[in-house]
Amino acid sequence: MWSISNAARLAAAGGALALLAACAQPKIEPRPVCDMEAYKQSFANAPEGEVLVPPVPGSVSPMPLNTVNVTDQAIIQKVIVQASNAGRTPTGTVEVWARLVNCTDFPLHVEGRTNFLTASQAPAEQPTAWTRVMLPARSIGTYSAKSIATDQVATYLVEIREGQ
């Protein structure tokens, strides 16, 4: 004959067992493990560099140059820009690359394009076409683009959006 007190005891015992099991086997997440809060903080703590300044002060937040911006709300909490850099090719054009991390357990499909700018922040050439980068689950992928112009290119701005 079951009584209420027996059932309560059993439930308590079950709960304790579940807790023990949870303590004994901590959940291991496959790498990379992304911390979006720390990533967000890194923007605030980033050293000040060149920025695109709007003609009307305060109308658009200053956009840091020589950076990679995830411009799409759909992937901003899913993809992290792990590193980026640029260099000159043997012909004097500029090659930009950005290493992207897919923090999710699902394959992602993103696209990037680069604006190459002169020292006076004028466009050195047309922005590149959108280039697709496939990011399997929890993996890294590299976006890269080359400029056409040579000496005129002084800075760049990379935009990343969800693939279309």
Binding site: W130, S147, I148
Partner: protein, 218 residues
């Protein structure tokens, strides 16, 4: 009460008149103009997929692949950093479509040539073989004295070329019985040395698409 009756009578007459008009309209044989706006033409971004999407090469693929190839060629020292500037033939003569899709190859080659020509700004020179016959006729007219020599002077012959673009589009396709198609497209570009046959530059663009139904490419 009287007013209500007369109102009913009036309503009945109006309904009858309406029916007659509808019947007359149905019998009318003259086509009426449907004076309403149609679906407006919508410009679409050439860099992004449009309203109709299939598993083949589309506008955004052509824009993307030619942009990547152009930028890659401009970063190749043999093509873009040589003195004197190399002469290149860039047309669809040796660019083949061996894929499952019908495609006008000139959309790829023309965009690539125009983009390169503007980007190179003298770092590469482009020779037109498509215009060779036209040029030859004009040369004859000049030499026969039918026309004067123009302002740029005469040359011994038409320009010879150092390199020529070749390429190939190929595809493989898997099709399920319910109409789902999975197609892999490979577009390969090569620049051939026209004296010794060496491939001095090569790059490719590939993609794979899957869709429930194929669309017709024309």
């Amino acid at each position: 009460m009287i007013e209500t009756r007369s109102a009913r009578r009036l309503t009945g007459r109006l309904a009858a008149a309406g029916l007659l008009l509808v019947a007359a309209g149905a019998c009318q044989t003259t086509a009426q103009v449907e004076n309403a706006s149609g679906t407006p033409t919508a410009y679409q971004d050439v860099n992004s997929p449009g309203l109709v999407q299939g598993v083949g090469i589309e506008a955004q693929d052509i824009v993307s692949m030619t942009d990547v190839m152009m930028r890659d060629m401009m970063s190749n020292p043999q093509l873009a950093n040589r003195q004197p500037s190399p002469r290149v033939i860039l047309d669809s003569q040796y660019f083949q479509n061996q894929s499952a899709q019908r495609l006008n190859l000139n959309t790829i080659v023309d965009r690539l040539r125009s983009g390169l020509l503007r980007a190179a700004n003298g770092r590469m020179l482009f020779v037109s073989r498509e215009a060779a016959e036209m040029v030859e006729k004009e040369r004859q007219l000049k030499r026969e004295g039918v026309t004067d020599v123009g302002t740029t002077g005469l040359t011994q012959a038409q320009a010879g070329a150092d390199y020529r673009l070749t390429g190939r589009i190929s595809s493989t396709e898997a099709r399920r019985s319910d109409g789902v198609i999975d197609r892999y497209n490979l577009i390969n570009f090569e620049m051939i040395d026209l004296e010794n046959g060496l491939i001095v530059w090569s790059n490719f663009y590939e993609f794979r698409k899957g869709a429930q139904d194929d669309v017709v490419y024309q």
